[in-house]
Amino acid sequence: MNIHEYQGKALFKANGVKVLDGVHCTSVDEALSAYDSLNSKVVAVKSQIHAGGRGKGNLYCPNTGDLLMEGGVKIAFSRDDVENYATNILGHILVTKQTGEEGKIVNHLYVESGCDIAHEYYLALLVDREKKSVLIMASTEGGMDIEEVAEETPELLHKVNVDPNAGLMGYQIRDLGLALGLSGAAHKSFGKMLRSLYALFVKEDCAMVEINPLVRTGGDEMVALDAKVSFDENAEFRHKDWDEIRDLSEEEDVEIRAKETGLSYVKLDGNIGCLVNGAGLAMATMDVIKLYGGEPANFLDVGGGANEEQVKTAFSIILEDPNVKGILVNIFGGIMRCDIIARGVIAATEALDLNVPLVVRLAGTNVDEGKAILAASTLNIHPADDLAEGAQKIVQLIGGEV
């Protein structure tokens, strides 16, 4: 789960990580009073969306598609500048390298005091899958695309893995600070920040905290100029406050509804809907559809123990997508019994008045009963014995060539 920069900075501030003064706004008027209250000659006016590359993105009018402004993060030198930038940003579409062509509507703005920057650094904390621990990465090359730094100048990317039993050690902080060329007050300030960040990372169950850039000010203080924070969704049960900071407008409505019914759904661009049990098999089903010349419309895992109601919900979610021209159901019954799935499929197709071709492949527990139930129905359901046959059938049925 991602949060906005302004929310991340509030979290930083509450946990002793130095940030600049700033105000979250949702209107031009609020942006202007934020400017008045900040008492800073120069302010940054920053679009708030859950995607990177905001500074280099462009703002478009959602109605006409006209380009309104280049750059989603602007430095304002006057009240008029703030008014101009806020007007161009709020309610408009920001397209960045990470949003895709359709971009994202900007509903939130962050107006932040200016900063006297001596140097820009990069700092991130994340879970290292290979080393099975929290990894801290830092670089002197702040403000840059860190993937590029890792690719071209890996010696400038410094890494420290934290032992989960020992926690972050003083020597690790010192080593990292020295690697960044910090000394004196700046080194001390960096150490304090890193301790606070690690504590925050663990306490808040973060998946990632990225600060790009982290800056050293003219006064040798380390300040987080950006805040990209994401949480581990598995830990939601112990963070009741996440509901309040979750921005649902940033998430796909249908993916949220799927999650509420215990389904895992991701929308894709193709026209063959898939309904599968198990994440690995669901991915493999998409792959095989593509292999036989089709394009999957979605990823959908109904989980290990889906009931008739969930199967029905799964069908209705698939059918909401107007691109769907056919559906492939692929179930390998383990805990889940094929006869139950077969009944669910029949109930769903009847209730939803299904009018696209449907191919059903069943295997595993109670497969013969399941197949018999499908065969006895008067509905137009095409059976398949294995995944390849199922994929070929559905591609043919929607008029594609295998």
Partner: protein, 309 residues
């Protein structure tokens, strides 16, 4: 033989009085697994009925292992308590007998809980953790065997193919594919789809290589991370038995979590293409479609002189 779990291994069930735990404990007994009881704090002294017979429940894993000399435990404890259940089992196995296998089925454990639990287990070298978020491990026997997890037992048969996979149902698919060419399995291990887990691909490959019953290996990966690439590179140097592979997620879009917490392409890394390439570079015979796993395996067995026809 088979790896880590013998056919007659003595198995405990953590969370045995819960709905999931009891349901699957019953299925395991039905399959022939030697279940010796379970553990639910606060319910010690009670019994649960599995397949018409009573099984004892203990308050702690220490008591349970001391009383039964169990070889393994399987965890069906909800996510908030599962990390600690792993550590309790590891601690108890380590102190009581110095060894044991901990299989965690639970899906949705916070990643940082797993970071802690995995480090805890790694400090107890005799203890092996399998999972979490996995179907478990099964060593089919001659009539029965040891099924420790949630997989459908009846699709398996004793044989010479070792299977290791990140996914549940895709493992069943692989099992069915071995059966379709008349081959059974030595042991099938689901290592789970979480970003931080216990036993990995390399552990499984090493154990299959050393196991006299296993003659060929099927390895099923998925997008995210680079465990498959590392395993392929390791296998090239260390595994002499034929390996057949598949990776799920070739069509998955970058940046989207595909069901499993670990199945995500991030920063352009962890793609299926990369993993297939690593497999091929290591001489692993790849199936582009899981329905072809049987045919590819048959070919690999023939090439290795393990099948004639």
């Amino acid at each position: 033989m088979g790896i880590w779990i013998e056919e007659n291994a003595k198995v405990l069930v953590q969370g045995i009085t819960g709905k999931q735990g009891m349901f699957h404990a019953d299925k395991m007994v039905e399959y022939g697994t030697n279940i010796v009881g379970g553990c639910t704090p606060g319910k010690g002294g009670q019994t649960v009925e599995l397949q018409g017979k009573p099984y004892p429940v203990w308050n702690s894993m220490f008591e349970a292992i001391e009383a039964t000399d169990a070889d393994a435990t399987v965890i069906y404890v909800p996510p908030p308590f599962a990390g600690e259940a792993i550590m309790e089992a590891a601690d108890a196995f380590d102190q009581v007998k110095g060894e044991g296998v901990v299989v965690c089925i639970t899906e949705g454990i916070p990643t940082l809980d797993m970071v802690k639990a995995v480090a805890f287990v790694e400090n107890r070298p005799g203890v092996r953790l399998i999972g979490p978020n996995c179907p478990g491990i099964i060593t089919p026997g001659d009539g029965g065997g040891a099924k420790i997890g949630i997989m459908p037992g009846h699709i398996h048969a004793k044989g010479r193919i070792g299977i290791v996979s990140k996914s549940g149902t895709l493992t069943y698919e692989a099992v069915a594919q071995t059966m379709s060419i008349g081959e059974g399995q030595s042991t099938c291990v689901g290592i789970g789809g979480d970003p931080v887990n216990g036993t990995g691909f390399i552990d499984c490959l090493a154990a299959f290589e050393a196991d006299s019953q296993t003659e060929a290996i099927v390895m099923i990966g998925e997008i995210g991370g680079n465990a498959e690439q590392e395993a392929a590179a390791w296998a090239k140097e260390n595994v002499t038995k034929p390996i057949v592979g598949f990776v799920a997620g070739a069509t998955a879009p970058p940046g989207k979590r595909m069901g499993h917490a670990g199945a995500i392409i991030s920063g352009g890394k962890g793609t299926a293409e990369e993993k297939f390439e690593a497999f091929e570079a290591a001489g692993i015979a790849c199936a582009k479609d899981p329905s072809e796993l049987g045919a590819v395996l048959l070919e690999a067995l023939k090439k290795a002189g393990l099948r004639n026809e």
